[in-house]
Each structure stands twice: as structure tokens, then as C-alpha cells.
């Protein structure tokens, strides 16, 4: 078994996921990551899987590989997500389905298969990424916010189902951060979101990792089923 802790992060090709991969490698984790496309960067002690989080057999193969190579999984961060800014009257069914498959079904599959590996050592830390679009009820983000609301509900319930196996499940809800996810969103829309926060600025990658660091500490074994929105949303 690998002596160092092992973390699996989804959606590591760019944005928050890439930052989190670098962050946890620096913190001494053997880090595994995935995205549909290959990454154009590399890191020591980082292994990439070209896996779609909504593809059941792909997710199972990735977790089989982690179990065979490391014999353990300590941390899962469900970061992969897609968004679509649009009025509901103009949103195609295919877009709605795609958002739910990646944002809600993906985390479900990842949690189910990861928990099987974590259970072997009766230890695991799962952190899902949500969004402030859910509590702020942002117009134009109905399917995105609803898919993340599903993850929030899953977080609270799976915290109870997985507690007997020493696994905690929590959620961090970031504010908008300057990534590709909000590239197409008009500046005035972003400003309107910031105006609704207690702390009136865009989020930073470090804000997200700071909250995740807290949830995944071994000492945080009594903290589960919690939802933490950043920026005072």
C-alpha cells in the first residue's frame, strides 16, 4: 500500500481542478485526476485518467486502477462541472441532460465507487463542489443551480449513509472565480452576483482550497453533511 495519502480530483484539465491537483501534490498527496480530454501539463506524483465522470464503466476502471496501484484512497474531490447560462425557455433538453449527467450523476458514481475503496481502511474524506448560484437563485442558471442543489442534497444524505464506514461528505460552494466556466458571462452579471455576497470580490482558488483543506483534515472526522458557501452567500 502507498504510504502517503491518495487524493482523487475530477475535472483537473484546467481551472480550479488543475489548481487543486497542484495544491495537493504540494501537500504530499499522491494525486489522481481525470477529465474527458488529456491534460497539457504534468506533475510528479500525479496520474491522469481520460475519464468522463458520467461513464460508469470508465469510473469503475479508474477506481480499480487506483485500488490496484495504491491500495487506498483518502480523499475524493468532486470538482468536474459544466455550466450553461441561458433562459429556461431557450434551453435545449440535450443541454439540461448534459448538465445533470456531469454535475449530479458524475459525483454519484464517483462517490459510490470511491467509498468502496475508502471503506477498506474505514477512512475517507469526500468534498463536493457546489455553487453560490443555488442559494442566490441566479436567473439564467436554473439547470446548473438545480444540478448542484442535487449534489447538496446528496451530500447531506450520503454523509449519513457513509458515516458507518468512517467517510465524511461535505460540500464547498464557491463564488464566481475567473475561470473558463464564467468566461462567457457578462461583467455586469458577475458584478450583480458579487453585490449579493457579504465579501464583495471575486473568489480565488485559494479560498476554495482553504475550505477543502479544513474538511479533509483527519481531525475533521466529526464534521460531515455540511454545506459551506464562500463569500458569505
Amino acid at each position: 500500500m502507498t504510504p502517503e495519502p491518495v487524493a482523487l480530483i475530477t475535472g483537473t484539465r484546467k481551472g480550479i481542478g488543475k489548481y487543486l491537483a497542484e495544491h495537493y501534490v504540494k501537500r504530499g498527496f499522491h494525486t489522481e485526476g481525470c477529465s474527458r480530454e488529456p491534460v497539457d501539463w504534468s506533475l510528479d506524483r500525479y496520474t491522469h485518467h481520460c475519464t468522463d465522470v458520467a461513464d460508469e464503466s470508465g469510473v469503475r476502471a479508474m477506481l480499480d486502477s487506483i485500488r490496484e496501484r495504491h491500495g487506498r484512497l483518502d480523499v475524493l474531490i468532486n470538482n468536474a462541472g459544466i455550466a450553461s447560462m441561458n433562459h429556461c425557455l431557450l434551453t435545449p433538453l440535450a443541454t439540461a441532460e448534459r448538465i445533470f449527467r456531469t454535475n449530479a450523476i458524475g459525483p454519484f458514481l464517483l462517490i459510490r465507487e470511491s467509498a468502496k475503496v475508502m471503506k477498506r481502511r474505514n477512512y475517507g474524506r469526500i468534498v463536493n463542489l457546489g455553487t453560490v448560484a443555488t442559494p442566490l437563485k441566479l436567473e439564467g442558471e436554473s439547470m446548473y443551480a438545480a444540478s448542484k442543489a442535487a449534489v447538496e442534497s446528496m451530500t447531506r444524505i450520503l454523509a449519513r449513509e457513509l458515516a458507518p464506514f468512517g467517510i465524511t461528505v461535505n460540500l464547498v460552494g464557491p463564488t464566481p472565480i475567473q475561470t473558463d466556466l464564467i468566461r462567457g458571462v457578462p461583467q455586469q452579471k458577475i458584478q450583480a452576483i458579487i453585490d449579493q455576497l457579504a465579501v464583495k470580490r471575486l473568489g480565488r482558488f485559494e479560498d476554495v482550497s482553504n475550505a477543502i483543506d479544513f474538511f479533509i483534515r483527519p481531525e475533521s472526522d466529526y464534521i460531515t453533511g455540511q454545506v459551506l458557501y464562500l463569500g458569505g452567500a
Partner: protein, 105 residues
């Protein structure tokens, strides 16, 4: 399911019995004198509670992978049904695993 040669029923039954014993031992439960095809796994006279069943299923998936190098998925909507659950007895579970190894179910 990705398998090499499909193991025979006897080897799968042995794996189910060994896995069941291991879960009972882990959970500090009393082991019955014998465990066979007719042994009920859950329900009124079953050996395991719901967490025990979940633990057994996960362990069996991993034991099947380790021993037979086959990746099976034991998740089933009938899991908690006492009448039709493929996990209701050692025999039913053995047959269910064999059907998965043969590419069915």
C-alpha cells in the same frame, strides 16, 4: 463485466461463504456452525443487518476482482427486497454472481 475464464459455481460459493464469514468476524457477530446455500443473509433469520449487507457486497466485488480478475457490479434495485433480492441467501447471491460473470443479469 470483464472476465477471463468464468469460475465454476463451487469456487463462487466458496468465495461467498468466506466473504460472509469475514464480514461477521469484522462486525464481532456470532458465527453460525455452518454457512451454506440455504443460509439467509438478511431478513428475519438473516445473518446481517443493512450495513452488513452493504459491506458484504462491496467486499465480494473486490474479492471477485482480486481472485478471478473480473469486474462485476452488484448494485441492484431489488437489493433490499426480502422476496426477490439477489442477496437474500448465500445460494441466491452465488447464482447472481455467476450470472454476472457469465455476462447476464
Amino acid at each position: 463485466m470483464h472476465a477471463n475464464a468464468v469460475p465454476d459455481a463451487e469456487r463462487v460459493l466458496e468465495l461467498v461463504i468466506q466473504s460472509t464469514r469475514a464480514v461477521l468476524e469484522q462486525r464481532g457477530a456470532t458465527l453460525p456452525d455452518t454457512i451454506g446455500r440455504d443460509t439467509a443473509l438478511f431478513g428475519q433469520n438473516g445473518l446481517l443487518d443493512s450495513i452488513g449487507i452493504v459491506t458484504l457486497m462491496v467486499d465480494i466485488e473486490q474479492n471477485v476482482f482480486d481472485r478471478f480478475h473480473a469486474s462485476i457490479q452488484l448494485a441492484d434495485d431489488r437489493a433490499m427486497s426480502q422476496r426477490s433480492s439477489p442477496f437474500r441467501s448465500v445460494g441466491a447471491l452465488t447464482d447472481f454472481i455467476l450470472s454476472l460473470l457469465n455476462g447476464g443479469a
